[in-house]
Structures are given as C-alpha cells and as structure tokens.
Symmetry: C2
Subunit: 158 residues, 2 copies
C-alpha cells in the first residue's frame, strides 16, 4: 500500500471503530434504559441516537453522495432539543434506523474512490477550499467519527 | 501540498480541534462545577480531566517521543475508578497540568516528521505491523482525539 492509501484506510477505520462501538453501547442497553436522560435534565438516550442518525445521514450530502434519506429527522433531532420538536421515533424504530443508516453509509465510505477524499466537501466553496485544502471530505468523515465518540461518552453513562 | 501532507495535516487538525474544544469546555466551568459527577454515581469532572491528561501524556511514549511526564497520574486516573486510587490533584492543579500537557504534546505533534506518522506505534510489534500497516502512529493520534471527544461529551453535561 502506498502512503495515501494507508492514510485513507487509517481514517476509514476510525469511522468503522466509532460506529461499531456506539452500536455495541446501544445494543447492550434496554429500551427502558435508552428512554432515560443521560444525566438529570439532559437529552434522553433515544434523542442522542436519533441525533447521531440524523447527522450521519446528512453526511451523505456533504460528501457529494446524494441526499439524506431521513430529512424528517432534522426537525426533531437536530433543530430542536429533546422533547421540543415533532414527536420522535420509538426506540425500536431508532434501532432499525441506526442499523440501516450506518450499514448504508459505511458501505458508501468503503466504496468511495480514494482521490475523492481529498476534494472539497459540499459545505465549502471552491474559493474557501483553495485557501484551505484541509476542508476536504476526509476531514468530514473524521469529524463525524469524533461526533459519534462525543455522544457515545454520554450513552455510556446510561 | 501533496496528498500525503494534506492527509496528515487533516488528521493533526482533528487533534487540535478536540484539544481546543475540551479546553474551552473546561475553562467555562468553575472549580465547584468540575468537582461534581457528570451524572449521578459516575466520574467527577475533575476525574475525567485527570484521566484525559494521563492518557494523552502517555501517548508520547506510544509515538516514540519519550516517557510520560506524569506517570504518577496513572494509578489515580487510569488504573482506578474515581475516588479509589491515590488521592488526586486539586482542580487548579489539573487546570495547569491540562495546559502544560496539551501545549507540550501539540508542539511535538506539529514538529513530528511526516514520514514517522506512517510507522508502527510502540504498542505493536514489527510482525503485527507488517500484517496491518493501519496500526501506525497517525491512528494513535486520531484515536486520542476521539477519546477526548468521548469524555468531552460527558464534561459538557456539567
């Protein structure tokens, strides 16, 4: 493997590891546990799961791979805090959506042509990207892996 | 910049961003707040900060850049759960240790010769590394950035 391939595979593995760890944390907790707040007065486990699905589903568009499949999650799980937006999904629904979303996105990520990771992501302009080539698609993937980690730290408290 | 340089700088920026966000979360909270548990019956904010300092200080050795500077933190903040190991540092001490540790390690990371990131880290053997070149030093840096994110999600609950 050349250096570029190793570096890209290293980053993709960070995504895989964070997705797998979060899936394990979720699978180890009952619906009843996930319905609880991660700390007093904070988001429920269910809200955190819905938030991760919504954010990661939206990554598809930022990588230039199509539209989000579940744009309806945006209102409940991104725009509004827990309990304020449209009524959310049930926990069994969230478990299914989690699996479908992350299986689908992980497959896309593994099929993504190597050279594309270095191109600009959809939330920056050509001009911004010319000034800062670090605003590439691989940075989005790594950022989303860290975002999963951030909320996994909260789910683990349940 | 060639592809290798862009990819390595992209990864280093993930470290920088996570360190800076955690530092901000810590700086925005009083000593009194950080003394509280992140959720009922869980680690205190102070313990989480000590844990991140201890883990990141130890990364220096895994990258082949010397010995940890604060090996005494290992017992309190890694080996034992909160309140069980040797008495820990005060919160003002932890704030100073956080800054010193992350300023020092971030400087080392930015000075690290590019080609070294692709070499094996100190916790794998040559034989293991020959079978899996993804067990390189850059994967350690990315993993530690995610580890900061994991615990930042907890500190933010305070």
């Amino acid at each position: 493997m050349n250096a570029t391939t190793v570096l890209i595979k290293t980053a993709i593995q960070r995504w895989d590891d964070q997705v797998n760890r979060a899936a394990l944390i979720i699978s180890e907790r009952s619906d009843e546990t996930l319905a609880k707040q991660v700390a007093t007065g904070k988001n429920t486990g269910a809200y955190v799961i819905g938030h991760l699905i919504a954010i990661n589903d939206a990554m598809v568009q930022i990588l230039g791979l199509g539209k989000p499949k579940y744009p309806d999650l945006f209102d409940t799980y991104i725009r509004h805090p827990d309990g304020v937006g449209h009524p959310g999904k049930t926990i069994p629904e969230l478990r299914e959506l989690w699996k479908e979303t992350h299986d689908r996105i992980t497959a896309l990520v593994h099929q993504f042509p190597e050279e594309n990771w270095l191109k600009r992501h959809a939330n920056v302009t050509d001009e911004q990207f010319a000034q800062n080539p670090l605003r590439n698609k691989l940075s989005v993937l790594l950022n989303r892996a860290e975002h999963i980690a951030f909320h996994s730290g909260q789910l683990r408290l349940l």
